[in-house]
């Protein structure tokens, strides 16, 4: 076991709150978990040295930070600053049918409900998920009442000052037939360490639109997860945009717990320098008639390293499942690296499941075509790289977010080309 984990466990011992039984369980599991090494399959390409060496510290003094402004986006802001829920930044009046509250401040019935979901959607195999179970100080619960459509998106921001450590945790509950959009974002100022996990319970016929932005770069360590439980006829559409950092690791788990659920996941990541980004996406088709469509695209420049593990598990009862996983990668330099592994486990015999993974360099024909129109080679490369990602951005249902992220990505490509 690493020193870092030992100290984390030691710090967690003192916490005694409404989550005490869950925290105790996580600590028990942690005590029996081996610190991942290169031989640990889930961490094979993602060395934990940056965690072992982090100097990040919990900052308990109040710091004023606010999330970036996104033009044309009017969101309900759920803000954590250095791991603390900043209630002052939450709107006083919320739309009817929506509640956002610290778990510790819920009434006893709601608390019991929240407790029954906590850490049941996020699988226990994530070591840092367990750390988050044990250490997340302010756990926030968001819930939408039955049949209610909340048109304003909720943005969950985890903001970190220089050198800060934080562990944030949110539970989002969509009751039957409700609709909600949630944006997850982490903004860190450097030398930070964070774990940020959100669990979503999407009840029958509910619809979730989800975004996760992991745009922190440089000397930040960011580990997190978005985990979804889909009941009968539930629908989700998720978009993930990631830049790398010293260590960025994201796990998503989509569980088809009901029939006729429909999940779309579009993920794109763009890495430069010596950055690393690791996406582990798992889909569990536990019930029949589910549908999953996953598109993951990645561009790796310089000496950066990308990891993608896409697992689809179709259980024996999950007949008539339709699942598609498509992973395409572009390498921009000889030293760039991509480790991609589609993993299909199919135990039902009447399913359609397709997967593909490609690693390529830039399309030379397209490059030539652009050049014959006078566009310089370097500009053409930026356009093509951007186009590769833009196809997925075009699919983002929220126009304000798409318009916001486009120039940010364009800027990143322009930087990639300079080197």
């Amino acid at each position: 076991m690493s020193e870092w984990l030992e100290s984390a466990i030691a710090r967690a011992q003192g916490i005694n709150d409404w989550l005490a039984p869950k925290r105790a369980h996580a600590l028990e599991l942690l005590a029996n978990t081996k610190w991942p090494t290169r031989k640990t399959e889930a961490w094979r390409y993602t060395p934990l040295r940056p965690v072992e060496r982090t100097q990040a510290k919990v900052i308990s003094d109040k710091v004023n930070l606010s999330p970036v402004v996104i033009a044309d986006l009017s969101a309900i802001e759920l803000v954590f600053v250095n791991g603390q829920f900043d209630q002052a930044q939450l709107a006083k009046a919320l739309p009817e049918g929506l509640s956002i509250s610290l778990g510790s401040e819920l009434g006893s019935a709601e608390k019991a409900d929240a407790l029954s979901i906590f850490s049941t959607i996020k699988p226990e195999r994530h070591i840092f998920g367990l750390v988050n179970d044990a250490l997340a100080q302010d756990v926030v619960v968001v819930s939408v009442a039955e049949g209610v459509e909340i048109t304003q998106p909720i943005r969950i921001s985890s903001l970190l000052s220089q050198g800060a450590e934080s562990h944030t945790r949110v539970q989002v509950v969509l009751s039957a037939g409700s609709r909600l959009t949630v944006i997850e974002d982490v903004q860190a100022q450097g030398d930070s360490f964070n774990t940020a996990f959100v669990e979503y319970n999407v009840a029958a016929n509910a619809r979730l639109e989800h975004y996760r932005f992991a745009l922190q770069t440089g000397s930040n360590v960011a580990i997190g997860g978005s985990h979804f439980n889909l009941h009968d006829h539930a629908k989700m559409n998720s978009t993930i945009v990631g830049f790398g950092s010293d260590l960025s690791r994201l796990d998503t788990d989509i569980i088809h717990a009901g029939e006729f659920a429909d999940a779309k996941l579009n993920a794109m990541y763009l890495l430069d320098g010596k950055e690393l980004f690791d996406l582990h996406a798992t889909v569990e088709h536990a019930k029949p008639n589910g549908k999953t469509e996953e598109n993951v695209r990645c561009i790796v420049a310089d000496r950066a390293r990308a990891v993608f593990n896409g697992r689809i598990h179709i259980h024996r009862d999950a007949q008539k499942t339709l699942a598609e996983l498509n992973n395409r990668n572009l390498l921009l330099s000889d030293k760039a690296e991509i480790n991609t592994k589609p993993e299909l486990e199919i135990y039902a015999d009447d399913v359609k499941c397709a997967h593909g993974a490609t690693v390529a360099q830039i399309d030379k024909q397209a490059l030539y075509y652009l050049q014959t129109r006078g566009v310089s080679r370097s500009k053409a490369q930026v356009m093509l790289n951007f186009g590769f990602i833009n196809e997925l951005i075009d699919l983002m249902p929220n126009a304000a977010l798409a318009e916001w992220i486009r120039p940010i990505i364009r800027e990143r490509f322009a930087q990639m080309e300079v080197k």
Binding site: D363, K364, Q365, A366, Y368, Y369, L370, Q371, T372, R373, G374, V375, S376, R377, K379, A380, M383, L384, F386, G387, F388, I389, N390, E391, D394
Partner: protein
């Protein structure tokens, strides 16, 4: 006419693709405003000529010279050739999903303006121009928003090429088998577009296998390309002759190795 300065001069050009010689001593002289048709059987090197002139990777010039407006074309990068006024309309235009047609067209126009020392065109002005060009080539304006050539039919792709030509206003247009895959209506639209662009300071090389296109785009000269060089030149009537008699009468006795192959 002989006093006019040449726009394009190709002298004894030899070029190869993957070590295989395709162009074997080609000469061609084009003056401003002229339309030259290059006809020939499959495999004669018709498309290769366009690729060599535009500087495609993998197409190597072994010897000979090419000047455009007096400048050494072969020394230039592909993009600089375009900026110098060369335009190649592709037989099979490339699809580029994710890059919108409008963005692509503007980047092309801006690159060429920049090369002339002009400022980039404003988005609003460009949109106006692009919409007008759409209208002229009979493409719905919605095509500006789609990915470059993405899911376009054969005819739509050709019209998109034509639209680029309208916006870029090149000095020399090479139309590479523009008629292939077009029905008669689409062919007419494309031909009308080309004809509308004919002017005293713009020349065309119309590469085609069939005479049909030349009913609509009347050439000043017709050349027959066979086995990498021009074996016969004439006026528009040569095209009709070819249509009637085929290419066989112009081809030399096949070489021995070809007989064996």
């Amino acid at each position: 006419m002989s006093n006019t300065k040449s726009l394009l001069t190709i002298k004894d050009l030899h070029a190869s693709v993957e070590e295989k010689q395709i162009i074997k001593g080609l000469d061609l002289d084009i003056k401003p405003g002229e339309v030259h048709a290059i006809m020939g059987p499959n495999g004669a090197g018709k498309s290769t000529l366009g690729y060599v002139l535009s500087g495609r990777d993998g197409y190597t010039v072994d010897s000979g010279s090419v000047t455009l407006d007096g400048e050494d074309l072969l020394e230039m990068e592909t993009e600089d050739r375009a900026r110098a006024g060369l335009f190649l309309a592709f037989q099979y235009p490339v699809e580029i999903p994710g890059v919108s047609n409008l963005e692509f067209l503007k980047a092309s126009v801006d690159a060429q303006r920049q090369a002339r020392g002009e400022d980039a065109i404003t988005s609003a002005d460009f949109l106006k121009e692009a919409k007008a060009a759409c209208k002229q080539v009979n493409l719905p304006v919605a095509f500006l928003k789609r990915g470059v050539n993405e899911g376009f039919s054969g005819g739509e792709k050709k019209r998109n090429e034509l639209m680029q030509m309208l916006l870029l206003k090149p000095k020399l247009c090479i139309l590479d088998e523009t008629d292939s895959g077009l029905d008669i209506d689409a062919l007419q639209v494309v031909a009308e577009g080309v004809n509308s662009q004919r002017s005293a300071d713009r020349s065309f090389i119309v590469v085609t296998h069939y005479q049909r296109l030349l009913d609509y785009i009347k050439p000043d000269f017709v050349h027959v390309l066979s086995d990498g060089k021009i074996v016969k030149s004439g006026d528009a009537s040569l095209a009709l002759e070819l249509e009637a008699q085929g290419y066989a009468w112009l081809q030399k006795e096949p070489a021995e190795d070809e007989l064996e192959g």
